[in-house]
Assembly symmetry: C2
Homo-oligomer: 276 residues x 2
């Protein structure tokens, strides 16, 4: 790109590039080449860009020093916007007609909504440490959209555990597990080469009742010699109180009593982990 | 937000807001409130913003007139960047060790990669008309990440067809179909209320060999009284030449001959649909 850019235009362009690529490091040289501008000019631009993100609470732009240095954008959500977003989601969850037979809730219109899940991904990225994490793990199907958006926000690859052994992915490691809610025995499997031994992963899932599924995922991770560094679930139920998994954050707490839905943002879980 | 913003900062912030929310209309008043600025000031800002997107070929920012008017950002990819991206992907597809028994390819590291699929989503959004489309439809599992990113780029909801009837989503419409490749009979199902009658949808999937799966999806859409307005697949195979589906775009063409992988960007398919 050989055109000359005005400062305004460079600022806009830098914001677009950083924002589209969370947690990716861009060198100063990348921008000097891109905009045909001096390092000092780009440095001044970056100060303005950092300001924009700070003032609007849109996340942080940080400078990484050293040979592999540059700047990167780290998505961060503010406590206020999270509260507002989660309360709105709770209102939608409480809408009439969501309760299905068996006390299940119809939620796929929400958890497949790209705008909802991209926000959920940013909230997870703001409240789960991922500094030396290698990938995001989820189990098909309903958690995939929010897990993908979490992976996007953290700039990490996504690994999807399948419920059936598929012939088309090469050798797999499979495991049976007992779902906490219905006590059924299910199978989960993952291609052997999907995870490197010694990796650190974060588990993301849409829903946790008893915790059986996530406990199964944790055990599968052991088979891969992989450490679970964090667990994020979108909705956890109030009942049963004792889950099979203890160390997790959940964004919403849910209780369905007959035809009454109680849904509340689980602010206490991550209150102190929000940025100031 | 009551702070005063400098022009540079407003430009950066407007770019961030528009870029994070493709195809969402923001009114002038939204920005005047957000930045505590006059309409004339914001109008001038928007001219700069439009310029940034044009100059960097990052998409278009268009003004919508009328009562529901405002500005929105439409993601558009340039032919050059698509070519570069797709050729790089082909190189990765041709890497050693991808061929599995049965001539299948191990591709999940690519098609679950958030950065790869967000780019694929933008390419689909640049080459499939979606002006009066109501949602994106895909079938689990491997197409979900790219379908979600397509839905995000188009600002449309995502609908996921399941391979098994799930009890937890209320009444479903199910259908059997014959996969083109292995001639197996499979089931697909979708909750009755996932689609409104009379809707227009775009089908997105990761892989097409014979076209049996997509043909099945088209037939399922008929059961929902829904029109298929476009079909986008990431990879189509050279063989068989005659697919069960004719009207689609595919980004890559693939041929596996023994231990040789031939993968090429399918540029001819959408050559004329790229923006100039």
């Amino acid at each position: 790109m050989s055109n000359k850019f005005k400062r305004n235009e460079r600022i806009g362009a830098i914001v677009k590039i950083l924002s589209d690529n969370p947690n990716k490091i861009f060198t100063l040289s990348f921008f000097t080449t891109q905009f045909n501008a001096a390092k000092s000019t780009i440095s001044e631009d970056l100060i303005v860009v950092k300001n924009v993100f700070e003032k609007l609470q849109l996340g942080k732009v940080v400078t990484i020093s050293g040979a592999a240095g540059g700047v990167k954008y780290i998505p961060k959500t503010s406590k206020e916007e999270n509260e507002e977003f989660l309360y709105q989601l709770c209102d939608r969850i409480k809408e009439e007609g969501r309760i299905l037979s068996g006390g299940f809730l119809y939620l796929i219109d929400l958890i497949y909504d790209p705008n909802v899940v991209s926000k959920i991904g940013e909230i997870f990225a703001s409240n789960i440490e991922y500094d030396d994490v290698d990938c995001i793990v989820t189990m098909e199907t309903k958690g995939i959209p929010m897990a993908l958006m979490t992976a996007k926000a953290m700039n990490l690859p996504l690994v999807i555990i399948r419920k059936n052994t598929k012939v088309s992915e090469g050798p797999t490691i499979s495991m049976t597990y007992v779902t906490g809610s219905s006590s059924k025995i299910e199978t989960m499997s993952l291609p052997s080469k999907a995870l490197k031994p010694g990796s650190k992963v974060i588990i993301i899932d849409d829903f946790m009742r008893g915790g059986g599924t996530i406990k199964g995922m944790i055990e599968l991770m052991k088979e891969f010699d992989t450490e679970v560094a964090g667990i994020g679930v979108f909705i956890s139920t109030v009942q049963p109180e004792n889950k099979l998994v203890s160390d997790y954050i959940s964004l919403l707490e849910l209780d369905v009593q007959g035809d009454k839905i109680i849904a509340e943002p689980n602010l206490k879980t991550f209150n102190h982990e929000y940025r100031d």
